[in-house]
Symmetry: C2
Subunit: 331 residues, 2 copies
Amino acid sequence: MRMSEQRRTTIKDVAEAAEVGVATVSRVLSGGSASPATREKVLAAAARLDYRPSALGRNLRRRRTGGIGLLVPDITDTFYARLADGVLTCAQAAGEPVMIGATRDDPEREAELIGSLIEESVERVIAVPSGDGEMWGPAFRAGLSVVFAERPVRGREDVPAVVADDRSGMRTAVEYLAGLGHRRVAFLARHGQEQRVRGFREAMAALGLPVEEELIVRARATRDSAYAAAAGLLQHRTDLTAVLAGGNMLGEAAVLAARELDLRVPRDVSLIMFDDVPWAELCSPPLTVISQPAQDMGYRAAELVLREGRRTRGVTLPTELIVRGSCAARR
Amino acid sequence: MRMSEQRRTTIKDVAEAAEVGVATVSRVLSGGSASPATREKVLAAAARLDYRPSALGRNLRRRRTGGIGLLVPDITDTFYARLADGVLTCAQAAGEPVMIGATRDDPEREAELIGSLIEESVERVIAVPSGDGEMWGPAFRAGLSVVFAERPVRGREDVPAVVADDRSGMRTAVEYLAGLGHRRVAFLARHGQEQRVRGFREAMAALGLPVEEELIVRARATRDSAYAAAAGLLQHRTDLTAVLAGGNMLGEAAVLAARELDLRVPRDVSLIMFDDVPWAELCSPPLTVISQPAQDMGYRAAELVLREGRRTRGVTLPTELIVRGSCAARR
DNA sequence: GTGAAAGCGCTAACAA
DNA sequence: TTGTTAGCGCTTTCAC
């Protein structure tokens, strides 16, 4: 005996209550033409019944879903959190729901999440890609429009990407360090940040500094991996005088590892971090950083993916050197 | 620019390819009974066509959506980011998509987001509530099952909530401070953290310390609001000897404000923060904190909301005092 | 074990 | 201007 069989209020209920056909209700509610009288009736009935059109029905019929999918490696990394925030801001303004997934920087998981987005008929995706171009085959075959954020994917140069100006940022950082007299500078990068690695190499070369492959260390997008990379670097290479961290988690790890090894920043080693975060200022010493507009990045990516217009080109956003106290002149 | 009218592969296509009826395909794919021979045929066809069942169709038919909605004030606040991470971890393990929204700690926006979740037929929601009980009327009327996180909502005591043990945490903090000789301790709270405020009052009273209303300051869940609150407090009340920050953003603001006002921590003022974050250790001095299991909170909330079983009770998770260097004995 | 058919809630032709 | 109707892709009786 089901007394309160929670049935959802449907368009049919509204139609009956307003004494019109369902098509009329649909039209009125989506701003179509209708006589003032009927419009009034329908609106009143809808309000009275607290009617909310089912996105399920609509999307099935239209064979598309409005929402946008968002794939980031780790929402716990403030950079991705800010990026996500930008996406949310733009999406909410456009009234689009956002479906989020954490890839853990794992191509396999990424593939799963892409599959899940396809199942949900999400047709727009913003992703900080972890895997290579192949992961994205199913996505394109399914016809969804994707925009990459933070970094492009090799082999998918046709897909628009919203990125920071890594080359310029790296160049600025390396020049700053070189100006301070550093020659042996290491680079802590996240896997996949090849743009930055390339920028680093270029900048070093341009200044006539040696690029030792051993001084370019890669980590995965997790705290543990970052720490291991930083500690390993600092421990084994006592000859380096400066380290450049490719992201805030790498920077955090570097500060921690340095402290653990009793290295003083910036006396024993100078440190500069890509990405500015609130705690950089609270840190001791305050960290010198290359800031990048994370939230903007997300916002722009959302704009791009929302703009139906095909053939949109990617966007490169500027970075900025913010000198604080973690770099010193090399004696 | 799609050249071929990308038609999605449907169950019908698979049925034709496998030379069976659609019902059979459905059955096989959802683990129903079928003869080994047909099962084989269907699976092969599905794989060959790279078939993915449409969640839209399924959900519409079933009149429910699997996904879970997640509403947080600000994903940029690492506490909420960790909470969200917990939710994502659990949801992904269960294969459920997560729809996320940022309420900005604004009841109105929260109401909008709830409405949007209803439209999407999401039937499970985890929320860090901003508004009062009334906001949630439509949600319950629509029959969705919700779990609150971080704090309960007054007037909705029947809704399960996953929270930190605020009373115990506050008590521990206050006792620690009192043991150090502090009597004039201020509390920086976020609006809605009434549990913590209550815990603070109780703890102070229990130790025979005076509770000055003026020393309990509330901020909204934004960096600006937090900073304003902290700066105002520190500026106007030069007689206080310790401040307890109700969350990491409040703590961050307090450190910043103190620095701005040339107050030395812990010499001039002791500081203790609710919620442990990676930078607390990097800060100078390292911050003494009451840690709370944010990611766990999210995970547990997801478990609760996923467990169909109604009448689940809420969960209270333990907190822990982690002494670092931001509190000193009062001379 | 298998298939035909009836919808889930909605929108878009097409009629009236 | 309005209503009728045919599906969108799927699951689920209900016959066979």
